[in-house]
Symmetry: C2
Subunit: 115 residues, 2 copies
DNA sequence: CCGGAGGTTCGAAGTTGTTCGTACCTCGCC
DNA sequence: GGCGAGGTACGAACAACTTCGAACCTCCGG
């Protein structure tokens, strides 16, 4: 699974907890990152390319939270690290990333909600 | 906004913040409540009818969090209080409650969820 | 009128989460 | 080899959240 060179360990999708995911997405900085990843083309992206106004160690912390929540995969490539969304995530929590991305109701805009 | 007798104040839907909502839903107790409400028929429900293993004051706290997050409406009826989901919520964040309810992808996914 | 069920408000305690600085590591490059 | 950019690990400071108990309030039923 994640035994590729430089691939940091991630939890199995079966072990991913919704509460942990929601906590991860509740933070504005982390949500901004996820937002950019969702808006992207799915390919990996340099961690250093995110405009987070935070100390290095704090950024590392946020990557770990996102990784352990099961949202992203992280690759250590020599002098830099890269992240990308886990494609399986959308299958486990369909629609969740759409909500975060603000594209409310990607495919079912007229749900009568209440009833 | 809501000036019905006993209706506790709730934020306008326009003022509802996604981060606040996700924080509210991240808590297992609050999520359990929302889960039951989603599974219900949309009518209000007595606050005392939820099997939360918590002190009274803690329950009051959680109702406030859910209310201020914009998820529920709360009515004070004499000797008891009642809650119900805000129907407009589903319109603002379509699919979000479906994810919380575990009915991943209400209408277009055939994932192997569960376990 | 009195008692109790259901709720709220107010602190206080303990836990968790965010942030940072410092020290240290590993590459790529000159 | 030496330097710097990019990252990690650790500890400390601070903020936020969760939980509770005690005091108090408001109804409804007897």
């Amino acid at each position: 699974m994640s035994s590729m060179p430089g691939e940091l360990p991630v939890p199995e999708m079966a072990d991913v907890d919704l509460g942990t995911v929601l906590s991860a997405l509740a933070d504005p900085h982390r949500r901004a990152v996820v937002l950019e990843l969702v808006a992207g083309d799915g390919t990996e992206r340099a961690c250093s390319s995110f405009p987070l106004p935070l100390a290095k160690s704090t950024r590392t912390h946020h990557w770990k939270v996102l990784r352990q929540a099961g949202l992203v995969r992280q690759r250590d490539a020599g002098n830099g690290t890269f992240v990308r969304l886990r494609p399986e995530f959308g299958a486990k929590f369909p629609g969740l990333l759409d909500v975060v991305a603000g594209l409310s109701a990607a495919r079912s805009a007229h749900l009568p909600s209440g009833r």
